[in-house]
Amino acid sequence: MDKWKADDKPVKIDKWDGSAIKNALDDAAKKVMTDNFGFKEEHRLMDLRLLICTVAVGFSLFALVWDYIRPFPESRPILIICVLSYFMLMGVLTLYTTYMEQNIFLVAADKDKAGLEPDDKWELASTLKKYTHLYKLKMTFTNGKTGLCRSEEIERPVNNYFDEEGTLLFKLFEPEVRTLQGRIAAASKKE
């Protein structure tokens, strides 16, 4: 199973595939936050999405099985419930991804050393619009004690961080995330 992991292999992508570029940069930014700074990733945001999807697929599976056991005219009431629930959940999922998740791909906690005060939160969100080469990375810091938020964003052309073949140049991207984090940390200390 350890062999299956590709963590040590340089990330190489198809450079004309926008979502692959975004995923590669997102992963790299995530890596800086969790590995270098030691923040602990929190999965609640994604877990809720997984839950919604699982329940939706569950409804359709149930409809399939029920319709097989009790052929059609008899299964009608259950089918109505399943179909309505499924499409309602799809609506909920759309609302959830557009309003709750937005483009956030990482929520990480900076654990309070003493464990007395609430953790500080770091959030990363990114966009890479179609037909542009500008990657926008937004970092938000929430102070656990005061609840104050501070966010900053950078916008960089993606070609800065990939070579001709489409290999991610992590060494060039890492400082960008570091300085962004440093700027926010310094500014929020002053407050």
Partner: protein, 168 residues
């Protein structure tokens, strides 16, 4: 096995964590589910167990040709009358038959039998539905898929793999 580990196209998948892998599977499940639920929804609305059928034989020409799509409804409150086109199943044949109703025998105990063109005496409970509309020739894809089953499975496998392996 080692060769597979080195393959570049699997890198995307190999880099995923448990949650992302599970989401890939769910994503695939949702694509299949959406199609399934639309179909089941149509079943509920039309009352027919198979609301869309493809005409597979040329027996209804010139009204319908091979490959036409038929939309069916099967509401209990609207009895089937002479001259309407019905789709029904016959025991021992997997493919439903499309025929026009020539005579209707309604008995007092509520059983209904139909005489359709082609001399098939069919019972009410075999009827899948009556034709309400059609789209010409779209179903030819289905006929091709049925004639070349390997082609069908190849396409399905390719699409499935693409969805599973390609990240979002």
């Amino acid at each position: 096995m080692f060769g597979l580990m080195e393959a570049d196209f699997l890198d995307d998948v190999r880099r995923m964590n448990k949650r992302q892998l599970y989401y890939q599977v769910l994503n695939f499940g949702m694509i299949v589910s959406s199609a399934l639920m639309i179909w089941k929804g149509l079943m509920v609305v039309t009352g027919s167990e198979s609301p869309i059928v493809v005409v597979l034989s040329g027996s209804m020409e010139p009204a319908f040709h091979r490959g036409d799509l038929l939309f069916l409804t099967n509401h209990r409150e609207e009895p089937i009358r002479v001259g309407e086109i019905v789709v029904f199943k016959v025991e021992g044949r997997d493919i439903p038959i499309v025929h026009r109703v020539l005579k209707v025998h309604e008995k007092e105990d509520g059983t209904v039998r139909f005489l359709t063109k082609g001399d098939n005496n069919s019972r009410k409970k075999d009827v899948v539905g009556r034709a309400r509309g059609f789209v010409p020739y779209v179903g030819i894809v289905t006929i091709l898929m049925n004639d070349y089953p390997k082609f069908k499975y190849a396409i399905l496998a390719c699409l499935g793999l693409f969805v599973l392996l390609h990240r979002e």
